[in-house]
């Protein structure tokens, strides 16, 4: 049975965990763990987020390269993204993120490729700029339909003094295509987060506004910060289209260079992942006066709220359409809830994901009668935790950049019915007999966004929580 967390028992649990740490770690980690309190106006007093991880504690976090190549740029399908440096980074991030894209692999869709400069010792000693030049020419030869190239820097690039910006500029002219140098070396910043920011800045400088759309309508919107994991962006797009809106760009799942280049003509930017793409939205607001809003397409309650909020930006026709869309799916959503809620009601969930989902999926769980008792971000900033204050219930345990030790201890004590986190955590908790879903990759399922996604989400949570296997851990001869 799951533990009933109160403010007091939660604080006691936090203290217990902190007591296992050496003094310096204890002091630092104290600033990353707290019990949610909706009375608070913001989290500045109880939390310091986006700080360096302590050495040796087993953080789950990745790096700036992961944030740029893996998240923001990697899904842009008609460009070739070079993992510039040694072979590993590109190898480990090859085809593992499930950002689906239509097209012919290796011909006009390069998402599923691992393209690297495979640095050798001589490249470190003598520099890699010459190699990069030649490599760019070879890409043009190998992939004649590529619309552009990004250079995703790995750690050594920034340390050996290569001038990849100069190479990019020069070669861009020679090859007559955008070539974009991205300084996302893994040692920059404290997590993936800075990589998102750096990637956003390069989109701003080298892609945005560089082409004009064929036509414009008053209903043009862009989906920003949806990486089409398991087809999420497609399942969101279809709702917007049913509302009568025209989606002119997807950033960046199943995205293209042209979509990014022409987004400055959108009438409204719809921001899904605030953490990774708020930067470009703020920029477009400032420079082009394009409003942006965050929306949430997880679970029918949040979808309805968001659909109405989006419609507010448009005329009565769209507002009427919004109501029609909501009405259209109501019956089906009720069927889903009727089917799964009895099996999931009252189940307690702990989440530990990236920078958005710990707050965004809460509504979907609640639609199924489930309760979030713990939530945390790998690389959230304080503004993410501020946004979580109202989404999470009172006395939810909140953990920022949790260590493996913290997560294991929290789960061991709280005994939730489900943990939603990443692949590094999955097998740990399954061994402990706790049902688990990967909430980065949707555990090779999805989509989870949109009305269609909620059906799959509900099915998957049921499959995890009600899996017979977790009830068999004690052999019959040991049962009392």
């Amino acid at each position: 049975m799951a533990m009933n967390l109160t403010k007091e028992s939660g604080e006691a649990l936090i203290s217990e965990v902190l007591d296992a740490y050496p003094e310096e770690v204890k002091e630092e980690r104290r600033k990353h763990l707290y019990m949610n309190d909706s009375e608070m106006e913001n989290t500045s007093k109880c939390l310091t987020a986006n700080r360096k991880s302590q050495p040796g504690v087993m953080t789950v976090r990745g790096c700036a390269y992961a944030g740029s190549k893996g998240v923001v740029w990697g899904p842009v399908k008609d460009m070739v993204h070079i993992s510039h440096g040694p072979v590993g980074c590109g190898q480990y991030s090859w085809g593992t993120r499930r950002n689906y894209a239509n097209g012919t692999a290796g011909v006009d869709n390069f998402v599923v490729m691992q393209v690297t400069s495979d640095f050798q010792e001589k490249d470190i000693v003598f520099g890699g700029d010459k190699k990069l030049e030649q490599l760019l020419r070879e890409i043009k030869e190998m992939f004649p339909l590529a619309k552009g190239i990004t250079i995703q820097s790995e750690c050594p690039i920034g340390l050996i003094g290569d001038d990849i910006e100069a190479v990019a500029k020069e070669m861009s002219k020679e090859l007559d295509m955008p070539i974009i140098a991205v300084r996302c070396e893994g040692f920059r910043g404290v997590s993936q987060s800075l990589g998102h920011h750096i990637a956003n800045d390069t989109v701003r400088d080298h892609a945005l506004g560089k082409a004009e759309p064929k036509d414009e309508t008053p209903y043009d919107v862009a989906i920003v910060g949806d990486y089409n994991i398991g087809g999420d962006a497609w399942a969101s797009r279809i709702i917007l289209e049913e509302m009568g809106l025209r989606v002119i760009a997807q950033w960046s799942g199943d995205g293209t260079l042209n979509e990014m280049q022409t987004t400055h003509k959108a009438k409204l930017n719809l921001l899904h992942c605030y953490r990774s793409m708020n930067y470009i939205c703020r920029h477009m607001e400032e420079k082009y006066g394009i409003p942006w809003m965050e929306y949430n397409f997880f679970g029918p309650s949040k979808i309805e709220e968001s659909v109405r909020k989006i419609a507010e930006h448009f005329d009565d026709k769209i507002k009427a359409n919004a109501e029609k869309v909501i009405e259209k799916y109501k019956g089906r959503m009720q069927q889903i809830i009727d089917r799964f809620k009895p099996r999931l009601e009252g189940k307690k969930v702990m989440l530990y994901v990236g920078g958005l989902r710990p707050r965004h999926v809460i509504g979907a769980y609640e639609d199924l009668g489930m309760e979030i008792v713990g939530a945390g971000y790998e690389f959230g900033h304080n503004d993410d935790y501020d946004r979580t204050l109202e989404e999470a219930k009172e006395s939810t345990l909140i953990y920022d950049d949790a260590t493996a030790f913290e997560l294991e201890t929290f789960v061991d004590k709280i005994k939730p019915d489900l943990v939603g986190s990443g692949v590094k955590e999955k097998y740990v908790f399954q061994k402990m007999g706790v049902p688990f879903r990967q909430m980065h990759s949707w555990d090779y399922s999805g989509p989870y966004h949109g009305y269609d996604g909620f059906e799959i989400f509900a099915r998957d949570m049921d499959m995890a929580i009600n899996a017979p296997v977790f009830k068999k851990m004690t052999p019959p001869w040991k049962e009392q």
Partner: protein, 507 residues
């Protein structure tokens, strides 16, 4: 009726017309090439002209079959009792290594980083090392910490020996706490090199101050090598040796930690070679390296020179490979190959005879690491199959040429070409130019298999998209049956999928 509620997921939902319409609308904003143009370019990329340009590449690597050093380092480190793999450098690397192993073994993988960032790039990572060792030691209570490096630490020239010693002086961990280490730059060699360096580091650290005894202890040492099948293989090796009554030490036994039970507790450490066993291993009769590609340094400069032991490099895969291994074990230990093993050998031969007609004369392409590729090619030739394209990204010129020469003199392998240092984009051109009946390799071959409609027999690393294969041995006579099972049944599935009138009930 809720019971009849059909839920469609990503596998089927997007085929619905409403999604097709939506995705058609999206195309208006993509400025993509016309479908005819895409088809034309797709055809061009399979042409001889393209192949020539593809093989002319000097700087560009596309879809390589290799990873970097620290990956191998932490894999071998995980095979020692209570050992926590520790990587000095950027933290993102460790997140990648761990998830890479999680996806292959479907198991947890514990490893820490000391999270070096910009300040460490300027001032060096000593502060991170001191704090990292201290924190890892206190929080995760290891018996040993094996330190390797990322390329960041290597580029700035951090000195592990000095940093670790200074950390001990600072009281981060006790002076006598074992902290073997190895420099594992990602821009040199591959995951195989990292395995080699870290293993050498561990063996040296734990035994360099120990006097070798006058007489050997009668045991043999086994080095498993960088192996995606270590769970199944190590257990199979143990089974075979035990059946002969041979005493052994596995140096880096990760068969337990990569296959822990679901019993309600997370076992962060489980099994593994103990420090005492490593110390005693110095006095063994001989050491066997089962995947020599992962042990060039260990074997050349260490087992022979430091431990002064005979070193046998035999991959116990296929009939000949297993025969050679068991024969050598018997020769060295004086223990005869058991009747039980002879029976197992007979069963393997029996299985080979059953499947012979579906493999004999079949052409195949293969990619992977040198030792595995060579042993698998040998085995498939025992079945009468003929290698065509052999791609080994991690092979040196010497390894590649030696293998080519060996194959040139064989009946079934004389038409094979060994492409060392090449990648899977080269393999694509090779297959486009000359088709094969099946491909052998890791999950990374699935795009090729799909594109050319050629069955992929998944043997290699990593295998992300199939379950449980790593639990089965590919070594020994048992391994012969497993490889046969996967291969012949993959080919038969393919035959059935493509069958019309010939959907035979009996094959």
């Amino acid at each position: 009726m809720s019971d009849t509620l059909v839920i469609k997921d990503h596998n089927t939902v997007f085929a619905e017309e409403r999604y097709q319409v939506s995705q058609e609308k999206k195309k208006a904003f993509e400025a993509a090439a016309a479908p005819e143009k895409v088809a034309e370019v797709a055809a061009y990329t399979k042409s001889p002209e393209y192949k020539e340009k593809n093989f002319d590449r000097k700087s560009l690597t596309i879809n390589p079959a290799k990873a970097c050093q620290p990956l191998g380092a932490i894999l071998v480190a995980s095979g020692f009792d209570g050992c926590l793999p520790y990587v000095h450098g950027s933290q993102g690397c460790v997140a990648y290594f761990r998830s890479h192993f999680n996806r292959h073994f479907k198991e947890p993988f514990a490893a820490v980083s000391d999270s070096m960032t910009e300040d460490a790039a300027v001032f060096g990572g000593q502060k991170n090392m001191v704090a990292g060792l201290k924190n890892a030691y206190e929080i995760y209570k290891p018996k040993m910490i094996a330190v390797s490096t990322t390329c960041m630490a290597e580029v700035i020239g951090d000195d592990l020996n000095a940093f670790i010693n200074n950390s001990k002086k600072d009281g981060a961990v006790p002076e006598d706490f074992p902290t073997p280490f190895a420099h594992t730059p990602s821009f040199v060699g591959s995951h195989l090199t990292g395995y080699d360096n870290m293993l050498r580091g561990i063996l040296f650290y734990l035994t360099n101050k120990i006097e070798k005894s006058e007489t050997d202890n009668g045991k043999i040492n086994i080095i498993p090598g960088y192996d995606g099948y270590s769970v199944g293989n190590i257990r199979e090796i143990k089974k075979m040796l035990e059946s002969m009554g041979v005493e052994y030490t596995i140096l880096g036994d990760n068969s337990d930690i990569l296959d822990t039970p679901m019993d309600g507790t997370y076992h962060m450490y489980s099994g593994g070679t103990t420090i005492e066993e490593v110390k005693e291993a110095k006095n063994a009769k001989a050491t066997f390296s089962l995947l020599p590609d992962s042990t060039p340094k260990v074997s050349k400069t260490f087992i022979k020179d430091d431990w002064e032991q005979p070193l046998e490099m035999i991959v116990p895969l296929g009939i000949d490979g297993t025969d050679a291994f068991l024969g050598k074990v018997s020769e060295i230990t004086g223990k005869p190959v058991s009747a039980e093993l002879e029976k197992a050998r007979g069963r393997a031969l029996d299985a080979m005879a059953d499947s012979n007609y579906y493999l004999h004369g079949k052409k195949f392409a293969i990619f992977g690491d040198p030792s595995y590729v060579e042993a698998l090619v040998d085995f498939y030739m025992e079945m009468g199959a003929e290698p065509s394209h052999i791609v080994i990204t991690t092979a040196t010129k010497k390894v590649g040429r030696t293998l080519q020469k060996k194959l040139d003199e064989t009946t079934f392998g004389k038409n094979a070409t060994v492409h060392f240092g090449h990648d899977l984009w080269h393999l694509r051109s090779l297959i486009a130019d000359e088709a094969v009946d099946f491909i052998v390799g890791s999950t990374h071959g699935k795009q090729l298999a799909k594109e050319f409609d050629i069955p992929l027999v998944r043997i290699g690393f990593p295998i992300f998209d199939r379950h449980h294969l790593h639990r089965y041995p590919v070594f020994g006579y048992e391994g012969v049956i497993n490889i046969l099972n996967w291969t012949v049944n993959t080919l038969l599935d393919d035959l059935d999928n493509k069958a019309t009138f010939n959907l035979d009930m009996v094959r």
